[in-house]
Assembly symmetry: D4
Homo-oligomer: 225 residues x 8
């Protein structure tokens, strides 16, 4: 730990410009809760340093604010990602991002685009929830071939348990807040996944597609090394 | 399980067109969380396949979107159901849908209309909560005659416990989010019903009128077979 | 409601001797929390009235106490049931009681024996949890033929969700307290089952095999009527 | 508030000898968590001061310890009360203590004996839970005549809701820890009672028979004044 | 229980017109969750029957709707009560309604006005929370003279515990949703009050001023009888 | 406790004008939940009495209302503080207010400005969360020199645990509601901090910057005495 | 941060021998969960290094094990502390440790003895809970004189709120697990204290007397510096 | 999915003998909740099939029962693993298993031995919790070199957050039930880890060392492929 390595001190933020060296990933911006002016300054600084920039949970209003300083910034309304990416990125390996239902797609897209931003090749398989098992089994071969599966599900979150019994590689389970009543804004799906009787399943926060895409990238990098 | 049976792959959704054969019920659409364009395409596809279509938890905005492709679609503002039904459906058997209070009616209507869509004859008895027991007892005969009772209640959710001691057929208890404070958005009513000292009571999710109407139909079908 | 119909008043207990007429089921004893002398008197009274008696959640010590007044009483250590049954009971219909794992069997046996006590024919299928899907699918035909399935599962409780997509008749889901950590003594499995994306699933209390066996009997009776 | 009024300072305890004047009730001992020697000293001091003494939640071991200094002390194993009472107490008024089931009796006895210790006439009506409504209705007249009803119930705790619609005087609801699984050691019954749709119901802690007996006495005293 | 006593059947509601005879209180309307047309019909029916009408948790929009059929209806924006009262009501007895803070006043007013509607004389003492004990002690005499105290408090809800040690008559504790963070929308205050080490405290639902005013009236009636 | 010491009785509020003498801090206004007219009267009264006034959790609308009676009142939109301060306040001692992230700054500013209002010299160190440890270690010396550290963090709230191992003076940990999903609106950060394996950490309510600034001032005053 | 400073590596434990320099407190042993042999080795190592040793939450069995290697070790059964202390320690300053009830004393003793081990002069004031306010007010002067108050309370935990309004110095609130039912093993007291309307209160974990004694020492050291 | 692939049907258990082919891991036995005779039969069957056998959460009593049929079975009291392993297993790759404290070692050993059973080379680094950061930083190089880190921590569970900022490969976080009070038997540590502000962290169930060892093996296999 070299505390003298540089970080960019904006006072309200201390951008961790050493992170790429330490972890292999540049700093990603958590947009939620930041003021427009703070966000614009952070995006501007990171873009100048890295030639690209990536942020999660951005509101439309934040997008407009950042757009003023970076006109070419891209905002994906589905995943709430706000980013600018280097051209001609080469995607490698094989990660499957799948969902139980159609309503889980926004979180899945956050995962998929995060993985792609960091160089991972992603195969999307959406709406293969367990109440129609034949749909899932139809994709058994594709699921088995992935280095890592990101499994996104709300409501009771049973999808990862079924996948866990079918494949050999790790599954990163993402509970979503899709549901109502006793779904407890996703806590039920989270608890389901944490208690899975199947093996090879680890869990990230509710709606945390970003986190899952990050981990899938780590695993994929080890596999393609 | 024949994984090669068809499903309709819209990419963002894989419509389970085999479900009617497997379970006796066509696929019903969970509208919440789907985009307008996704929903319109799903409704259009299902209607073409089955000649009718049924969805739950639709917003007014979603209704407007679907209406553009299916002008004759019906939206019930009370129950938030969005559907189009074959004419001259013959309703059979006898299911009672009852509520503890007037404020529980939207959930009860979701249950009742679901059961009717799937061919069940429904007897509605609303506002017979336990704080005025004579109202409930007045309907004792009708309650006893039902093949299944759907009992809908919020706040402390005591209605199913009282019914359970009076009748011989199963009761599907539906907790509602009606209440405030320590009702915990319906969790209290759910816990009450799950712990009932009376027999013959099983429980579905908070505000899940649809699920209760579905199960009542299953039981009613067995009874009228 | 005829309040003048008899009940047997033992002061510490008021045995509901009218229940068989009202509901088709004689009163069953909840043994937990009753003193030995209370329990012995209740068993004795009910046995004299009905020629048989059935109680749940009995401890070994309670069994010894009741045995003193009813030497032929039967205690099943697995299910903690304490009962004496009329001979030559004819079992009818078809209910499946299945479990996700081996450790869920005590609860399943409570369900199965309750259903049998009340005249239901039971088909036991144990240890078909979703982490080895081929085991479950092997029994697809048997599962489809049941008038009602009692699905018993702990940990994440995903079994009913998978069954719900395969069969046409109702599933009574029983969460168990099997698991550890975030299984929260069965609350996680309960929440999973309550939020199932599959249809036809209603839920009873954690480890409440008795309740599930009762409801399965109600449904089975409607089916064989 | 006169801070100079006496209290008995035992260092580890400061006995509130002014309480009888302030509130009309002498100090009652919460035995749980106190050491044997502390308890013996407290009992001895209070008995000398008042000629009687009353404590709750005493273990058998604590009873033995106190017995050494007060040989005539009485221990009720059902209610876990440890007390010595003046002779020839005149009981006045009319309070009903009722339970939903037989297993709730220990808590009810704590309530009833507390009320009696403080001079209240108590009418016990046990095992009138709502799953056999005719039992409860049989006692409708007695219930209506009470100045206050203490309603003790575990599991789903529906009894107070039904009583609330029948009577004109206040009901003190006592949830008990009787039940299992999602009864959450009595939290479910507590929540049920707090959310009652019926009027006139207020709630005390789980298994707090003492508190209910105290409040019933306060109300009864106002009524007989 | 005479189930043949009349109730007014509006289909969506069954007005309990027998309640005044049974309990001494006419039916009060829980406005939340009822449609405008339902509410107007209920108010109209009750007003015709009783010459007065009283409802809780009404929105401004509901007030406007009811006003169309009952122009003289009164809406109190602070307490959200919607009512019309007979003139020249004589108020009797003595109930104190007090609050810990200024922000708790809306709930306190619901309690006070409910008690007054049912004929109780109310003494309001607001903002005497425990962080400035001298304020509370200044009113010690007034507090001691009340037949019943309604104690309204949010945040940590410590007020009833302090009052409980000072007075001889019952305290009805009302937790409020005032606070933030770990106040959990009032659950913390509710739990505090339920666990009070002081005696004579029973608890109603969060923000349930109505329920407390009702119980205070019951107790006050017994005292002035 | 002298209950006859003055308080200012506005009926809806009893301003604790004795508090400055008792505790060394004048009364601070909790604005949330107070009506505009109540707030204006309270501010006016306190300002006249003390020559300055300080309130927390004020909305913009409340600011406008108070501004009408106190035109020079200051509203800080970041921290939601509404105050007017004596000029030329001398700040003493040394308190560090630090945050884990940029989004935690509003709560930190509430803490910092509160401490400054009460005369404490504050050193702000923002965005030194544990995922880039070198940033935090860079400030090790400044952190060690503070008489008290206010550590503000949302999400998992790990910052105080790391600080606790580095410094000798007390840390007041403030969990924030920054995060999503299983952060449970700050409950997770609160639980983390309460369970810290490091020593010297005590915790205040979620987002309670004010409380932390108050305690830091108490400690700082003891240190500079 | 000098990572090369020594720590004692026992493999199963890495004793932080640098801690005294960094924080002013030597490492204290958390005994719970450690094996007998591990504990003995840790105690032996620390004692040799520092000439004294201090551990919390030790069982009697652990005491016996440590006694074999350190015959003069002292075990306090009340507080579960296991320690050996240098002779003739000079205690400075003034910290009050007070409790609401007698049953809270074990936790209070953990706090008091911890503070004393680290050189703090402690004034114990036990059983001054708020249900008999005159007891607490009797000690007002002593409470005001302390540099820091450790306030220990179970059940509803109201004691710190009342103290907070009386004194000028910081209060460290310690919730205890004393209570039953909805006290939720101390969570209720913790929540009460976290939400206190009084100022100057921060909170440590349930039953964490050690943590409170540590912080009180930190504050006391600043005051006596 | 070939449902006709063999499983071993013991009635009470259906051993998934196809799992090794599907997932690369043979079936592991969850011992908890199984009867002695069931366990012995399962171990015997698996051992005959695979030449080795591995089970988790075994009690000493279960060990004795299995030992009767497999005398050479090994029971590790620390980790509660019950197993028999092929000789001369070659361990490959590099996984670090680390703990925050000494009391977390039993869970860590479950993880480490599981990984080793499945062929992974494990580097154990115990007691490097964040309250003495220099210990952790001393091992920075070893931590960075691992293909996967299993981070085991109880109490507030901050360890993975600190690691996440230092390394490039995935961290599997295992919360433990070590702690007390508001640690909520490990739920706090679980929530902390799920909400980590650091990247690359996914979580398994409380005390689920087995699950973490399994996933670490999956990742390690991908890395060494």
């Amino acid at each position: 730990m070299d505390k003298d390595k540089k970080f960019e001190d904006l006072n309200f933020a201390k951008l961790d410009t050493d992170r790429l060296d330490r972890t292999g990933f540049m700093e990603v911006v958590f947009c939620q809760g930041k003021s427009n002016s703070q966000l614009a300054e952070i995006y501007d600084t990171l873009l100048k340093k890295y030639g690209e920039v990536f942020g999660t949970r951005a509101s439309k209003e934040q997008y407009e604010a950042v757009k003023k300083v970076i006109p070419e910034i891209i905002y994906d309304e589905t995943s709430k990602l706000l980013y600018l990416e280097k051209a001609d990125k080469k995607l490698v390996g094989n990660v499957v991002v799948c969902t139980a239902g159609t309503s889980d797609i926004p979180v899945a897209e956050e995962a998929a685009k995060t993985a792609e931003f960091f160089g991972t090749k992603v195969n999307r398989i959406y709406d293969i929830g367990v109440s129609g098992l034949h749909r899932l089994l139809k994709f058994e071969k594709e699921l088995k071939e992935a280095n890592c599966i990101v499994a996104v599900a709300g409501m009771e979150g049973a999808l990862p348990s079924v996948l866990g019994g079918l494949v050999s590689n790790p599954i990163v389970a993402v509970p979503t807040s899709i549901g109502y009543g006793a779904s407890l804004q996703g806590m039920t799906a989270l608890l389901t996944m944490i208690n899975s009787c199947a093996n090879g399943i680890s869990v990230v926060n509710i709606d945390n597609g970003y986190g899952a895409g990050y981990i899938a990238t780590q695993i994929n990098r080890l596999a393609v090394k």
